[in-house]
């Protein structure tokens, strides 16, 4: 497969010099995101995120399986990321690149390890049956800042997702089909979002949010902060690159919080809109099988 062409020396210098003069190629502020679009599919658990020209699709699914023997009380929750040839012909099928490995690890750390999804609630019969929730992340087009877009897509897909309702009677587990009972949402504890900073300049003194593909290729370092709208930090990843001053990093984290609040508001609003769209005739409240918390 052909390798992706690197930006030329002229292009690189143009981008860097512009950034030193506080200018970006697309005319944004340094701490401004590209227009963010979020939409849901006809089925539950399908989220489509467009961040400028970056487009990520996330699909959540669930099925009943046997839990891991070392964790009999926990359900299974996996995130599968793939950067296929649709993203760019340079990516091959079934051969993960470094970008893909880093992306899936970051998503795993942000969503799974922060306990956003209560895996204990996925257990049906201890040691025998549990739900296996899987999120597939498909990157349709890559124009920088994959991490933030994918994280938003994963969280949106999981919050939009409904799993089939179940009941236990005399040791017999029944899984109801969507026609029998309205599916129920996952037990969701908090919504973490990623905010990625890119650093430019000799000492990484210029911090930029939501870098595009070309900016990502000329940056000297990057740092991903994952936090929820309450300001609880789930993880901070700064993998190599030029060292950055601690004070600058603190500044970045506080700006990240305002961005995360915006994401959170957007997601809440879109979910409410989608619920309204599905609730034809206002029967949803009666159809619901779950109890209010």
């Amino acid at each position: 497969m052909p390798r992706e062409a690197e930006p030329s020396l002229n292009e690189k210098q143009f981008v860097i010099q512009a950034l030193q003069e506080n200018l970006r190629l697309d005319g944004r502020e340094l701490d401004q995101y590209r227009p963010l679009e979020l939409s849901f599919g006809d089925q539950y658990g399908l989220a489509d995120v467009k961040l400028g020209k970056t487009r990520v699709l996330a699909k959540a699914t669930a099925e009943v399986t046997v839990p891991y023997t070392d964790r009999p009380l926990d359900g299974i929750f996996t995130i599968a990321t793939e950067l296929g040839p649709m993203t760019s012909p340079a990516f091959e099928v079934n051969r993960p690149t470094e970008t893909e490995v880093l992306l899936s690890r970051l998503l795993e750390k942000t969503v799974r390890r922060s306990g956003a999804l209560d895996t204990e609630s996925l257990c049906l019969v201890a040691g025998q049956k549990c739900w296996s929730v899987r999120v597939d992340v498909h990157v349709l087009s890559h124009d920088g800042n994959l991490i933030d877009a994918s994280c938003l897509a994963v969280v949106a897909a999981l919050r939009h997702f409904r799993k089939p309702d179940t009941s236990m009677e005399a040791g017999v587990l029944t899984v109801y089909t969507p026609a029998e009972r309205e599916p129920v949402p996952l037990s969701w504890l908090h919504s973490p979002f990623c905010v990625t900073w890119s650093f430019f300049g000799e000492e990484g003194e210029i911090a930029v949010l939501d870098a595009t593909w070309i900016e990502e290729q000329v940056r000297v370092g990057s740092c991903t902060v994952s936090l929820n709208k309450h300001g609880e930090i789930c993880q901070i990843a700064k993998l190599g690159g030029t060292p950055v001053e601690a004070v600058a990093l603190l500044q970045c984290v506080s700006v990240s919080l305002t961005k995360v609040k915006e994401f959170s508001d957007l997601l809440d609003r879109k979910l409410a809109e989608d619920l309204k769209r599905r609730d034809k005739g206002g029967f949803m409240a009666e159809l619901r099988a779950e109890n209010d918390r």
Partner: protein, 254 residues
């Protein structure tokens, strides 16, 4: 989500691919990207023709044998209409990403191992053709495809166009047919029990959907009546009008 919805398509949806299309019809939504002709890997290189690489990716789960089967069917039919001899030693890569497919509400599906439905074929085929047109890959003809099921209802056999998964479960046989723009049969795949007579019936129905001749200049009233009498969407007209809108939008500056 009803089967009667008209097909919808958008071209050039992915900015970095050579050509792309998003197509949705009968509950199926598929996005395709086409890159090509590009450099082929040594093992895929053919000395006299281009290698067509079709990749089908299910929305959930990893692709398995069914996806490989769909890929091989699509690959051999698309290689018939693309002018492969024009690009020796190169590769035309078609990636089809399934976004949405209708679900049968009456059964719980196992999804970690993806199992694509047979009836998704027309959507895949149509998206691939649209994306190839968008990438300006030279082709001998365009193609249109449709799925037809034969159902046993009230003691009589009935043909259902664009069957829903629930229909497919109860259907006696499911057929997928594709025709080129020269009215030639490009693809005929069938599943289930059927007689030759039934297949001929299916062929006529599919042909009516895929190869309807453009409406002649008739009186307005007669045309309206005519539209109502024919069943199913007019795929060829749809393909033509989609491309027409795209070209008109692209040449707007002129």
């Amino acid at each position: 989500m009803t089967a009667t919805t008209l097909p919808e398509a958008a071209l050039g949806v992915l900015p970095r691919a050579d050509g792309s299309a998003r197509y949705s019809h009968a509950g199926y939504t598929v996005t395709a990207s086409v890159n090509g002709p590009i450099e082929a890997q040594r093992r895929d290189e053919h000395a006299y023709e281009a290698h067509i690489d079709v990749i089908v990716r299910p929305a959930a789960g990893v692709g398995g044998t069914r996806e490989r089967h769909l890929e091989s069917i699509l690959q051999s039919s698309l290689a018939q209409i693309i002018l492969v001899k024009n690009f020796p030693r190169s590769l035309i890569q078609i990636v089809l990403q399934v976004e949405d497919s209708p679900e049968n509400d009456y059964v719980n599906t196992k999804l970690v191992q993806a199992s694509l439905n047979f009836a998704i074929m027309p959507a895949l085929m149509q998206t691939a053709v649209l994306a190839l047109l968008s990438a300006a890959v030279p082709m001998r003809a365009t193609a249109t495809a449709t799925a037809v099921a034969i159902m046993h209802q009230d003691g009589a056999k009935q043909t259902v166009v664009d069957p829903h998964p629930r229909d497919i479960e109860k259907a006696q046989s499911v057929h997928v047919l594709a025709f080129t723009s020269h009215d030639e049969l490009l693809l005929a795949e069938s599943e289930g029990d059927f007689t030759v007579k039934e297949w001929d019936n299916v062929y006529e129905t599919a042909r009516g959907i895929c190869c309807r001749s453009p409406p002649q200049a008739k009186e307005g009233m007669a045309m309206l009546l005519d539209d109502e009498s024919t069943g199913g969407p007019d795929m060829r007209q749809f393909l033509r009008s989609t491309m027409g809108f795209k070209v008109a939008a692209d040449l707007h500056w002129k």
